[in-house]
Amino acid sequence: MKHPEDPSGVSRRGFLKGASLGVAASTVLGSARAEVKEASGVPDARLLKAADEHEISFVLNGEKTKAKVRTGHTLLETLRDQLDKTGTKLVCDFGTCGACTVLVDGKPVNSCLTLAVDVAGHQVETIEGMEQNGKLHPIQEAFCAEDGLQCGFCTPGMVMSSKALLDANPKPSLDETKAALSGNLCRCGTYINIFRAVERASKGK
């Protein structure tokens, strides 16, 4: 998974490791980000401190949304604590499990490793935004029909990763599906059913 707006293409995990495990939030944005997102409420990232507060705006599930965040706040905690979007789960807090997967500009990212200030001005899509006009998205339907869930804790992340896959590759092979979902863990062991669900959705069954 790539950082949503990191033109250097450095993976976020490597990037954060470089930034001493991501705790020193003021350095996280670094010089890779050239653009100043004034319109979205965030000043030049290079000048930020971890405790600075910002009012950011972004598009969440198709709706213009504002949030007050500190530089150090992750997108995940902003979604869960402030915007009551609790479908996205916190599991590993480490970029390992994919339970916190959301789409930023259509690309899957781990929201536990993404700073809220980084999505200012961008499109964010969470599990809550998948239904359209009160109807389940075909991928959600397929997860239900193929029993791609047990406890359901990994499910929102799995659904989001599957959506990102099918948006980019509508007819994935089994190996491509496995690769696309390889950043998502399920402890209950629903993988086989999830592969079937992706296949079902891809065939529009």
Binding site: V91, C144, F153, L181, C188, F195
Partner: protein, 750 residues
């Protein structure tokens, strides 16, 4: 009035049929048997709560955000063994936003509240704090630890350290290693010279449950009433434990709620110290408190499957009959009790000698974990069986079949061998080259027949709506859906017509989800509740249509006369006849009928594995698993299959990846996160062929048995057998990581 009646049942599987007679009271529905024509049972049904889970609407304890809620957390000892010389929890209050503190001096050290007290593992909780924000909480924990003084003592965090001669004792002055006496003696048989004897020491690792939702609770008081939202496998057990732990609080003052929970696997049977602390802090602060453990706490302090060392000898005679089996096993429950390795005695061993023991270590205590003791015991036992077969020059499948008379497993051995392609299996050790393919097999047995601890409420309203209520929990395996399916069958409806309620102790009591007993415990009670309700409905219809109630049946959404088609009405119309409020019945769970009237005892399962081993890099890739499982009567084919997949995948993960590692110097868990504690992911998945044996066993009115656990037992052993067959060397320790595979190859000259 309850009268006994005699029912005749046809039980069994395939051609193996048994006709039995059972005496049953009138209020017990006639048990389903091989002749039953079932409309809903056994088909593939979507889970009734699936939509909540795919839309993110399902609220887990983790997701709760009550008004004014505080965040709770623990001060934990950073040392594996230490005396707490001074600890000033009041320091926490110097941080803005801290609302309550809770000392957690262990009971064993409470007699003298000013004396030093002992801590037995790194991460043991020594105090709790509740604050307005996570940031304040973290700052408070840091502030307390910054001034705490510990007297650090030498520890025994690892099994090898605890077993050393002058090892520091974990519990007072007690020796770390305890062994129970031998049961049985097979020395004579093994030394008679008449048997081919194989000898092996197998080792397994500590496995953590790694539930994706960590352990945790939200406690909220309303006057003297406590509501505890918690991620649990045992709502009623939590209520009991809380009442026993908090002064002046009785069970009637507590409601435990667990509508959705993110995985347990045996680790969530108790309210736990986190719930008790949340309740106390909430009372003190006058605000709800959320106490969710973080990932590191989850990995180090919520239980695990103990490791094991199993020393075995097995003797086989010239006909391939096992005549003697000896095992001495030992494992580490940390500071807990019960490392209990269970070598499942599936095969007819002739004479056996067993001795078990435990090694106390300075590490978080063990907890029940999916088939406690069995996967490790199975890996040991099946390793010995494979080596015995090699010694005796017999095919390992043939040796098993020769020594296992279980009717169902006998069918499964043949069925599975065909499905996996056992005939393509090459002679062990005959392959050379980088990639080698092998086949392995292992077996399992289980109980899972369920217990009488379940009551079900069934309510039918005049508008035709049906409610089924039980206060137990759904771990995600589809328990809620079982409520709907069983009731629908009995009432002639579809599962979607039933509204289900689960996970709230204000509803009728239900079992703890352990031992694969939930479905088997509740199903017969659901059936009885619906059966009693349908009898009341039939009476109303009979009076209305002027016919006999016994001539009426509920089927396909209607109440029909068996002979006279004109005397029939839809279920909805029938419900309009209900005058006094509603029909409300309580289904009770009888004891299982016992072995006399039933078919078979012990739930049988067999698994086959095909693996490819990359002998240059020591990487084991599982290509295919065939899992054949006695399911009793399948209630929902889709979720039954899901249980098989889940068991197999956790078994595969245990076989190849998982391993909790303790640091020998500091005594810390080195891999307390999901990055370095690896569990199987999408890339590791083989093809899995789940073969459900749908068996009317007559054990209870639904013939249901639980299958969550048995499906995990033999997987690691079957994979190990396949690796052995491919490479010609035996990897005798789990997980079978590349280093171990390469080492075995080198030692074996392969």
């Amino acid at each position: 009035m309850k009268k006994d009646r005699t029912v005749k049942l046809k039980l069994g599987y395939g051609k193996d049929v048994k006709e039995v007679e059972l005496e049953l009271p009138d209020d017990e529905p006639t048990p389903w048997d091989m002749n039953s024509k079932l409309e809903v049972i056994g088909k593939r049904h979507q889970k009734v709560d699936a939509v909540f889970k795919v839309t993110g609407q399902a609220k887990y304890t983790h997701d709760l955000n009550l008004p004014g809620m505080l965040f709770g957390g623990f001060v934990r000892c950073p040392h594996a063994k230490a005396k707490v010389v001074s600890l000033d929890l009041e320091k926490a209050k110097s941080i803005a936003g801290v609302k309550a503190i809770l000392p957690m001096r262990p009971r064993r050290n409470r007699r003298n509240p000013t004396a030093e007290w002992s801590v037995r593992y790194a991460g043991e909780p020594i105090g709790a704090i509740a604050a307005e924000s996570r940031q304040a909480l973290e700052a408070a924990i840091r502030a307390v630890l910054a001034t705490a003084k510990f007297d650090i003592l030498p520890h025994s965090a690892r099994a090898d350290q605890a077993m050393a001669e002058d090892a520091p004792a974990v519990h007072g002055n007690r020796p770390n290693v305890s062994r129970r006496p031998w049961r049985g003696d097979v020395t004579e048989a093994l030394e008679s010279g008449k048997l081919k004897v194989a000898e092996v020491t197998a080792r397994t690792q500590v496995q953590t449950h790694s539930c994706l939702e960590t352990h945790g609770s939200v406690a909220s008081w309303d006057g003297a009433h406590l509501t505890l939202y918690t991620s649990t496998q045992n709502t009623f057990g939590c209520r009991r434990q809380l009442a026993g732990s908090i002064k002046d609080l009785s069970e009637s003052q507590i409601t435990v709620i667990s509508e959705f929970m993110g995985g347990g696997f045996g680790s969530k049977f108790m309210a736990g110290y986190w719930s008790i602390a949340a309740a106390r802090l909430a009372k003190d602060a006058g605000a709800p408190v959320k106490m969710m453990l973080d990932r590191r706490e989850e990995q180090t302090d919520t239980g695990n499957r103990p490791d094991s060392i199993q020393e075995m000898k097995i003797g086989v005679d010239g006909d391939g009959k096992i005549q003697a089996f000896q095992v001495e096993n030992i494992g580490t429950p940390g500071i807990g009790r019960g490392a209990g390795v269970r070598n499942p005695m599936i095969y007819d061993f002739g004479k056996t000698a067993v001795r078990s023991g435990e090694i106390a270590t300075n590490a978080g205590g063990s907890q029940a974990f999916r088939a406690p003791g069995h996967p490790q015991g199975s890996f040991g036992l099946e390793t010995a069986i494979d080596l015995a077969a090699e010694k005796a020059g017999i095919d390992p499948l043939a040796l098993r079949m020769k020594n296992d008379a279980h009717v169902i497993r006998t069918l499964q051995y043949t069925d599975g061998a065909r499905r996996i392609g056992w005939s393509k299996r090459q002679k062990t050790g005959s392959q050379t080259g980088r990639y080698r393919v092998g086949y392995g097999v292992a077996a399992a047995r289980w109980g899972g027949m369920g217990s009488p601890r379940a009551e079900i409420k069934c309510r039918i309203a005049p508008d035709g709506s049906v409610q089924i209520r039980n206060g137990a929990q759904d771990l995600g395996v589809g328990t809620r859906t079982v409520l709907a399916i069983v009731a629908a069958e009995e009432l002639g409806l579809q599962p979607g017509d039933i509204t289900t309620f689960i996970g709230n102790t204000n509803d009728p009591r239900g079992p703890a989800s352990g031992g694969s007993t939930t479905a088997a415990s509740i199903s017969p009670a659901i059936r009885q509740a619906a059966f009693l309700a349908s009898a009341e409905l039939k009476d109303l219809v009979a009076a209305h249509l002027k016919c006999k109630a016994k001539d009426l049946v509920l089927a396909k959404g209607s109440v029909r006369h068996v002979k006279d088609a004109s005397k029939s009405m839809s279920f909805k119309d029938a419900c309009r006849l209900i005058r006094q409020g509603e029909i409300s019945t309580m289904g009770k769970r009888r004891r299982n009928y016992g072995s006399k009237g039933t078919y078979l005892n012990g739930v049988g399962g067999v698994q086959f594995a095909r693996c490819t081993v990359d002998c240059d890099f020591g990487i084991v890739k599982v290509d295919r698993i065939v899992a054949l499982q006695d399911c009793g009567k399948v209630i929902n084919a889709m979720t039954a299959e899901g249980q098989v997949f889940g068991g197999v995948i956790q078994g595969l993960s245990y076989a190849l990846f998982e391993d909790r590692v303790m640091d020998r110097h500091l005594g810390h868990c080195i891999n307390g996160d999901l990055e370095t504690y690896k569990i199987a992911g999408p890339d590791d998945m083989p093809e899995i062929d789940a073969v459900l044996y749908d068996i009317a066993n007559g054990g209870n009115n639904c013939s249901v048995v639980g299958i969550g656990e048995p499906t995990m037992i033999p997987t690691a052993a079957a994979i190990a057998g396949a690796v052995h067959n491919a490479t010609g060397v035996r990897v005798t320790a789990l997980p079978m990581t590349p280093d171990k595979v390469l080492e075995a190859l080198e030692e074996g000259g392969k």
